[in-house]
Symmetry: C3
Subunit: 274 residues, 3 copies
């Protein structure tokens, strides 16, 4: 826990390490967000691949640095591939990140998310509603789903989910949080336009997987939140007319992200150490 | 029929109602257009979800306000999901909108479109060729497919299709039309660049489903055509170099759409009452 | 071989022929690149369709002018459709283009690419690594895969692959090459930002299929490389802040591509005639 990034300098160093190693990130993700996830990964300095066939996911994670699994448009054959890839990633000691999109919306979706959460993800990234639902479904307690819940309201669920699964849990909202069940890190950044452009949360999950290739889970989650939050705020400042150009501006901002952007648009603080 | 919007003020009021209620719109749509459909829905003020697994579509329409089904990249398992979701929507009294993409191009596609058209969609939205083909396939007559047909040429087919299916039929082109088989409403708007950016028609169908959550079918179709047509024209005016930035500009225009934009870039008239 | 375009005037004439005939291009491609491929095809003057169900691919190629097959996000059912469509295209005398995305990354992917390469594609388009891997897998020799290989290093593999398959082989990189196994054409153009925007190579493959509808394979490949390379360079010049807006700018440049753009941003030379 003492290795966690506690300031912007650590996020900057993680970004430099990411760009230097250009990790190959294996994604099994939803149809809606594939393009922006790939473009965000390229812009931040990683190498993306979207590969989902059960015939090849185990071979592909073997040549990759990390894995992102996102259940946004799940179906049974894709879930088969997710399980195979996650198991192989764990067997090979490669970190994988889970995005439980829409957990709580249907029994099928909640069940799949809970099963995957038990498969040793390094990091779980979701919004408040998804994390609260997943904490409940994973038997970690939780207070039920409120789709309008703020990230602050999900902090206890995030901690419980982290303890139950062994994963670092990142919950995003106006303030973002990352916790390993002990340390709680708060990250400020982002912009209110971001939820009005589809799949930017999914692309953050992919970006988190890229950082997980170069940093331990809690440090990776915090760095990803800071870099992405700073880039999102910088991008939104260039979108005076609405969210239409936000994905393109976000990629430009990720591509150009540096210490000045981080200092101006993001803040990291250790909110609590258990 | 007298509830149909017959002027821009009704479209403006429908847009305000949409934004106030922020309907959750369930989409089962094609891979090409998922991202722009989701972004258009977010920009206009709705909440999009793309959910297609047969294991969860019935549960998902149950928590949604309306449903859009688009057969652009259909395959048998997806068609199974479309049927389940449409039947459940009708059972629950929730409106659903059909986009018969490419109807007439292959027997498989035409057959699926005709079967879905019999499942009580509230609105069917297509181009002239698709509507003429579907009218024929649905046993409503029709004069065969002409992929270069104008929307004017499809008005009779649209009326026949509306009568045969009970749906409001919207046919888009240089002039857009919406009819319940009796009243015929013409909507002016849009821009010649729009067909040069992929899936903007699909995103209009999704937008129509959002309006169907807050207005009866004919009023919803007319409001969607007016809002989308105005936004498209306003967006194209900001694209002097070609269609590349049109999706982004369209989202900005949907996000900013107001009475001034509607007055400047769209017109609604009742063309005929049977 | 004497029909190959050896100067920019031939590329300009091919572009004019494409725009005049507006070919319907049937695509069976990956989820990540569908939207940009469709938009690139629309911008350059073609009519795109993405159709992958085994129930209709044979009917759809029958009404299309050419076919692009891209294995980026392959799975068994999609591969079934690729085989059916390719065989039907050959039977009907319609050209089809293969993009062996990621060939060499996994045994499954390499095997599918090699099988498709034996099905008489008119053109195969890939990067250096993919072409070198495919040449080896297709029994045409080859020196193994190096994901950092330059296009120059793949010229011999491209020639061998062309001779083994009967296809024109286009290999893209800093300099692009097209060869029928005898003549070798080098095309300059493009920009270093292009690999930082996802699926632009996939969209080039789709564009190549559009040119294959109006020119013989070697002329089509060279014209596509020149037009796309010029448009890419012109687009990148309008992206001072990074790759975010590159897809939109590329579409605008394809839409506006003319002799002046070709002269300024591309060059074609016959590098060798065997």
């Amino acid at each position: 826990m003492t290795e966690a990034p506690i300031d912007i300098a650590d996020a900057e160093a993680a970004l430099a390490a990411l760009r230097a190693s250009r990790p190959l990130v294996h994604n099994i993700t939803n149809y809606v967000g594939m393009t922006i996830a790939a473009n965000a990964l390229l812009a931040v300095g990683a190498s993306p691949a979207m590969v989902h066939a059960v015939e090849e996911v185990e071979d592909f994670i073997a040549i990759s640095s990390s894995l992102a699994i996102n259940i946004g448009t799940l179906s049974p054959r894709w879930v088969d591939a997710m399980r195979l890839a996650a198991a192989k990633a764990v067997a090979l000691g490669k970190p994988w990140v889970l995005d439980p999109v829409g957990c709580g919306a249907t029994p099928y979706r909640t069940g799949v998310a809970a099963d995957l959460a038990r498969m040793k993800p390094a990091i779980i990234r979701g919004n408040a509603s998804e994390i609260m639902s997943l904490a409940g479904a994973a038997g970690a307690g939780g207070k039920g789903v409120d789709s309008t819940a703020s990230s602050d309201a999900a902090v206890d669920a995030a901690k419980a989910l982290a303890r139950a699964t062994g994963a670092v849990v990142a919950v995003t909202g106006v303030t973002d949080y990352a916790t390993d069940g002990g340390t709680l890190i708060a990250v400020e950044g982002g912009h209110e336009l971001m939820p009005l452009s589809t799949a930017l949360g999914c692309a953050l999950t992919a970006t988190t997987a890229a950082f997980a290739a170069v940093r331990p889970p809690l440090a990776a989650a915090a760095a990803a939140l800071a870099v992405y939050g700073a880039a999102g705020a910088a991008a939104a400042a260039r979108c005076p007319n609405g969210p239409g150009h936000l994905p393109a501006e976000l990629c430009d901002a990720l591509y150009r992200c540096d210490r000045a952007m981080l200092d101006r648009h993001a803040a990291i603080r250790v909110a609590a150490i258990a």
